[in-house]
Structure formats: structure tokens, C-alpha cells
């Protein structure tokens, strides 16, 4: 299982592969110094997260190697110093600056290869409760725009996506594009299993927060 974790240098190839299929992951930049980090954050816009990049450290947040929801440059400089303090004694390749995901509805877009039907795509309510609510629907790849539309309508959480309680409907065009993208990706690269989970959608688009796939 590949988890495209940018704080692991070896994963950057997969990141590139995903980008070549049109998946836009959140903007990121590997910084070697506090000033570089500040510059990168200014370019991508706040809020951002900082994450230590190191082959040695597996549970980065446990030792204080991750800081999230950083809102301005003063906070960023402070966070940078704290992380460097926390990881003292480990070999670090630098610090990853990544834009924080938008707030919105967490979805899962997944793919897998079924032994009888071949590649199939799954769409559902994402996040940590995926396997509890199991509000998911599937189609055999390739899918059409109409298929994606029907998938959205089949979800129990469909009203949330359409904008319940005064919220605006999520960006359906972006969602459709991402579903079609996963279909193309898993078929062309012959992927066995894939998760984009969560992908956070609001009315202006969707942010892929975490990607995993297995060939």
C-alpha cells in the first residue's frame, strides 16, 4: 500500500504520477529553513500545516513533528522553531509546508479491481466513519457523467452535498472530474486498491487530503 505522504521523500514520485492524471493535491513545498518556509507559506496562502520530513521518524505527530492551522507568519516562525526543538537528535530532510484543506464535506472516492468485474469506482461519505456509515455506492469503470450523477443521488447523504441547512451545494463539476480521474488512473495504471479519503468539498472545489493506492 502506497500512502502518498509528502513528508516521506520516497513518495514524491507517486505524487508526480498522480498530478500527471490531473489530481490536484494541496500545494506543498519542502523548506530547508525558517525563511524558506515563511516564503512558501506566503505564496500558497494561509492557513498552512508544517510537517517534519524524515525517514527516521514514523509517528511524526507523537513527538511534535506536525503543526496545523497556522494562520500567519508569526505563528509559522514560532511553530517552525518548536518542531525543530521537538525533533532534535533525529535526522530531518527539512520541513514540509502544506496548505490546509478547506472546510466542507468529507467524501471518499475509491477504486478497486474486482476479480469478476474488473476496475470499479466507489463514492461515499468519507472521513473516519467510512466503514461505520457505509454510505457508499459503486459503478464498474469506465463511468459516464450520468453514472456519476446517479451515484451522487444514491447516497443517503445526498442532501448534504446539495447544500442542506443553508449551506451551498458542493462543486459537482469538480467531484465529477475527480471520479472520472480515479477511473482513468486505476484502469491505466492497473491499480488494485485506491482511496482518496478524505476529499473535502465545498462550493468552490475539493481538496484531496490523503491518497493511498496499491498496484
Amino acid at each position: 500500500m502506497m500512502r502518498v505522504d509528502l513528508s516521506n521523500m520516497a513518495m514524491l514520485d507517486d505524487f508526480g504520477l498522480l498530478e500527471s492524471y490531473g489530481f490536484k493535491l494541496l500545494p506543498y513545498k519542502l523548506a530547508a529553513s525558517e525563511d524558506e518556509a515563511a516564503l512558501a507559506a506566503r505564496k500558497m496562502g494561509y492557513p498552512v500545516a508544517l510537517k517534519v520530513v524524515s525517514e527516521e521518524i514514523s509517528h511524526k505527530s507523537d513527538i511534535g513533528g506536525v503543526k496545523v492551522k497556522i494562520r500567519d507568519e508569526a505563528a509559522l516562525r514560532l511553530a517552525y522553531k518548536e518542531i525543530m526543538d521537538n525533533v532534535k537528535g533525529h535526522v530531518a530532510d527539512g520541513i514540509l509546508v502544506q496548505k490546509m484543506a478547506r472546510k466542507g464535506i468529507e467524501l471518499i472516492i475509491g477504486g478497486k479491481k474486482d476479480p469478476q468485474f474488473g476496475h470499479m469506482i466507489v463514492l461515499g461519505l468519507g472521513g473516519i466513519y467510512v466503514e461505520i456509515f457505509r454510505d457508499v455506492t459503486a459503478r464498474i469503470c469506465p463511468v459516464t457523467d450520468d453514472d456519476v450523477k446517479e451515484m451522487v443521488e444514491e447516497l443517503k447523504s445526498h442532501p448534504l452535498l446539495e447544500g442542506a441547512r443553508g449551506a451551498r451545494p458542493i462543486d459537482m463539476k469538480a467531484l465529477r472530474g475527480m471520479v472520472l480521474g480515479v477511473c482513468r488512473f486505476i484502469m491505466k495504471e492497473d491499480i488494485t486498491e485506491m482511496d482518496l479519503n478524505p476529499v473535502i468539498f465545498d462550493e468552490n472545489g475539493g481538496d484531496i487530503v490523503d491518497v493511498r493506492f496499491t498496484r
Binding site: G110, K112, F117, M120, V130, E193, N197, T214
Partner: protein
């Protein structure tokens, strides 16, 4: 089309059959088969093949298929698995048009060597082979009947337009029995068992062109080539609605799923996805299978607006609940209909949907109300509740409902809930082709499926 599928027609309409293993010994499978054809009044020639006899139940018997002096169209084999390849070879040499292998003892017990041989021979002699490990076929039009369960224990349905394709013989036979019990007619029953030479996809391809078939029931356990199945379901469902049921939904999830997707999306999810993509109607139980299949014989509705007629307020309310629950709409009658309906009701009644004719209502009130609603452009389908227990309702209601159905203007579901008397009434309706349900929810669920199918067909145009 595969040469073999063209020949498959002979399996359902053979000029002659040979039963390999045909036997005079009561209760042997070979004996049941002989009786199926003799007592069932099969119209073609019958031969038995069994080295032990020269005659079985008055039918000439030969040691081998190749010994039969005249032509043989369909050969039914019910002898041990080891003997089957040799017999199929004889069938090929004899120039038989098709073979049904009832015997088990092939893939299902890991005798892939025997299964491979069956497959090879099928290709070599261009022989359609149904089975092995199955009940074979039943065609009520020609009385070809390889269901080796005696007729006194398992009823055979009469002729109709529903083809029933099943992997499982056990489920298949009970559905056949129930269909006969409900007076539902079938065009063909095909139990294809292991599907070694021909499988569900071939059967769909065959049925697509079969003149007697208008609706198809597909009962699946597992398939080898899901993509091919999806392709055929898509193609055939447009012409002939398919009602599918998948057994074995909760098999082990992916052996070593490492993602959420792998964990959630078991193999059944792929089937479900394929059914949805092909717009095939999926039944979750045998009850639903019957509930759904009978409504597909009705004309397609133009929309979701349902009118309810009842002679009991409470049942009307339950039906309205079911309509809302299933995402259908309660129809709004036209002004002209409201006026016309007012005249049918007693002075204290009021026009509404559900239309409560009240318990005093006789058959005439139903007839008039149905006529008004059939003409109303604001109504797409009718749900007719009949409490058969009320004094004024007599058997003439069957004629009224049958006629309303036969006009084929709008789909109708009828709902009657009750004991022995009501059940007999419902069976009478069913035998006339009027869909009858024992609960409002079951009826409206079925209506919803028909409505979904109709909507999809409209979109295609």
C-alpha cells in the same frame, strides 16, 4: 452469434429427444425424466438410451445414442460424470443439435478435467451444452422438461412470456413451483448449473431474440466474466426487462483489503453496481422477485403519479404512506375527474386521493372509478385496494380488474390483505395476469421499479 446459440433453439423445441439413463425403475432420475415427456405429452419422438433395456415405459431404448436409427435433436444426460464426455462425443457423431447434462461431479467437485472435456467437445462439435450439474430446461409450449423432480411434487407452470434463467437448480425449481401455484406463465426455464460450455451471458443473448420471451428473471450466484455479463445485461434489458437476483452477497470481503475501499466494496457491490449500470431491476428476496416480475407485464407509466382506489380508509392510508415512502407521487385529479368521481361516491363521501369508495361500495363503483382514472391525464398508474371481505364485493370484481388490465392504458397494481378467501381471490387475479399484492408496500415498491425502468427508457429516446 455463436453457431451453438442458433442450435440452442432445438433444445427448447426438439423434434425428438433421447434420455440417456432412461429407466423403468420408479423414482430413478431416468424414470422421472421419461415420465416428464410421456405424461407431459411431449409432441415429438422420445427415445431412451440404456444398455440394460430394449424398451422403457413403452418407448424404444438403445444401448448408445449412435444406435438410435432416426435423427435426434436433443439429448438429456443423467448418468455418472465419468461417462458424460463419451456420451457427448456420441451426440456429436450422431449429429444431435443440443445436449443437457444434468449430472453433477464436474467443476463443483474439482473435476476440472471432466469439465474441460465438456467444453472442448461443445466447441469441437458446435454443440450447445446446458449444464452440467443442473435441472436443464422446461418449455411449457413444447413440454420439453428435464426437471427431474416429479410433476406430482413440483407443479409446472403454463405458457407465458417470462423466461427464468438460474444458476441454482434448487432455487430454480421452487420458483417454478411457485410460478405454477400463482398461475404465472413462463416462456422458458433454464437452469444452467456450472455453465461450463454456455453460461448466463449466452442465455441472455439467446433470449434477446426468443419470440416467446418478453421478461427475463436472472438468478445468479457467481459469474466468471462480470464485464461480459454487464454488456449483455445492458443490451438485452433495453428490449426485455431483466429482474436480477444475486445470492451469496456476504461472502468474505477482499482477502487482504488494505484500503477503506477494499473493506467496504465486497464482491456483491460490484454486482449491484453492474445491475444499476445496466438499469436491471434487482430483487433482494424471492418474494421481491415475484413482486417485481409480475408488474413488468404492465404497460410502462408516463410518470410517478399514482391514484389510489379503496373500499377501506385505513388501507388507503397505508397505500398513500407507501407511495410517499417509495418516492412516488400522490396524483392530483383533473377537475373533470373530480366531478365525475363525486357522482360515484355516496352523499357523505368526499373525493380525495386515496379515493375511499367506502365499505358499501360494490363492483360497479370500482368499475366507474377506474374508468374515470384511466382517462385522467394527471394520473400515471393505479393502486387498487380491494377489501374482499366486505359484503357487496363479489367475484365480478375479478372481471372488472382484468378488463382494466387488458386495456393496457396504465399500469395497475391491486392490493388485498386477508386469509384463505382473499388468497383464493388473489390467485384468480394472478391467473388472469392482474398483478396482485398482499401488502401496500410490496405493491408500491413494484410500481416504483416499473416507473424507474420506464423513466430510463424515456431518457434513451
Amino acid at each position: 452469434m455463436d453457431e451453438r446459440l442458433k442450435k440452442l433453439a432445438y433444445v427448447f423445441k426438439p423434434r425428438s429427444v433421447a434420455i440417456v439413463g432412461g429407466s423403468p425403475v420408479p423414482n430413478k432420475i431416468g424414470n422421472v425424466l421419461m415420465k416428464n415427456f410421456i405424461d407431459g405429452r411431449f409432441m415429438g419422438k422420445i427415445y431412451a438410451v440404456n444398455p440394460k433395456y430394449t424398451e422403457v415405459l413403452g418407448v424404444p431404448c438403445y444401448p448408445r445414442v449412435t444406435d438410435i436409427p432416426k435423427l435426434v435433436d436433443c439429448v438429456i444426460i443423467a448418468t455418472p460424470a465419468e461417462t458424460v464426455p463419451g456420451i457427448i462425443e456420441d451426440c456429436g457423431k450422431k449429429g444431435a443439435k443440443g445436449v443437457i447434462v444434468l449430472s453433477g461431479g464436474f467443476e463443483e467437485v474439482n473435476r476440472n478435467d471432466l469439465a474441460d472435456r465438456v467444453k472442448e467437445l461443445s466447441v469441437q462439435y458446435k454443440l450447445p451444452i446446458i449444464g452440467p450439474n443442473c435441472l436443464g430446461v422446461f418449455n411449457p409450449y413444447t413440454r420439453v422438461d428435464s426437471i427431474f423432480l416429479p410433476m406430482y411434487k413440483l407443479q409446472r407452470p403454463g405458457p407465458g412470456n417470462i423466461a427464468f434463467v438460474t444458476q441454482s437448480g434448487a432455487v430454480g425449481s421452487t420458483v417454478v413451483d411457485l410460478a405454477a401455484h400463482y398461475g404465472m406463465g413462463i416462456s422458458k426455464f433454464i437452469s444452467y448449473g456450472n455453465g461450463t460450455a454456455l453460461n448466463e451471458c449466452d442465455m441472455l443473448e439467446f433470449l434477446e431474440k426468443d419470440e416467446e420471451t418478453e421478461i427475463i428473471i436472472l438468478y445468479l450466484e457467481g459469474v466468471k466474466d462480470g464485464r461480459r455479463l454487464l454488456g449483455w445485461m445492458k443490451k438485452v434489458n433495453v428490449k426485455k426487462p431483466i429482474i436480477a437476483m444475486k445470492a451469496g452477497k456476504y461472502g468474505k470481503a477482499m482477502a487482504a483489503a488494505r484500503s477503506h475501499t477494499g473493506n467496504i466494496a465486497g464482491n456483491y457491490m460490484a454486482y449491484k453496481a453492474a445491475f444499476r449500470q445496466a438499469k436491471v431491476t434487482e430483487a433482494d428476496s424471492l418474494e421481491e422477485l415475484f413482486d417485481f416480475v409480475k408488474i413488468f407485464d404492465q404497460p410502462l407509466p408516463k410518470g410517478n403519479r399514482v391514484a389510489v382506489i379503496t373500499n377501506g380508509g385505513g388501507m388507503g392510508v397505508l397505500t398513500a404512506d407507501a407511495i410517499n415512502d417509495q418516492g412516488m407521487e400522490i396524483a392530483d385529479y383533473s377537475e373533470a375527474s373530480k366531478e365525475a368521481l363525486k357522482k360515484i361516491l355516496p352523499s357523505y363521501g368526499s373525493v380525495g386521493n386515496p379515493l375511499d369508495l367506502v365499505a358499501d361500495a360494490g363492483v360497479d363503483a370500482y368499475e366507474k372509478a377506474i374508468a374515470v382514472m384511466m382517462a385522467d391525464q394527471n394520473i400515471d398508474s393505479l393502486a387498487i385496494v380491494v377489501l374482499t371481505q366486505t359484503p357487496p364485493i363479489d367475484e365480478r370484481i375479478i372481471g372488472v380488474l382484468t378488463q382494466a388490465c387488458d386495456e393496457r392504458k396504465k399500469p395497475i397494481v391491486t392490493i388485498s390483505v386477508g386469509g384463505e378467501y382473499t388468497e383464493a381471490y388473489k390467485r384468480a387475479l394472478e391467473s388472469k395476469g392482474v398483478p396482485s399484492y398482499g401488502s401496500p408496500l410490496a405493491a408500491v415498491k413494484a410500481l416504483r421499479r416499473l416507473s424507474d425502468y420506464a423513466m430510463w427508457k424515456r431518457k434513451l429516446k
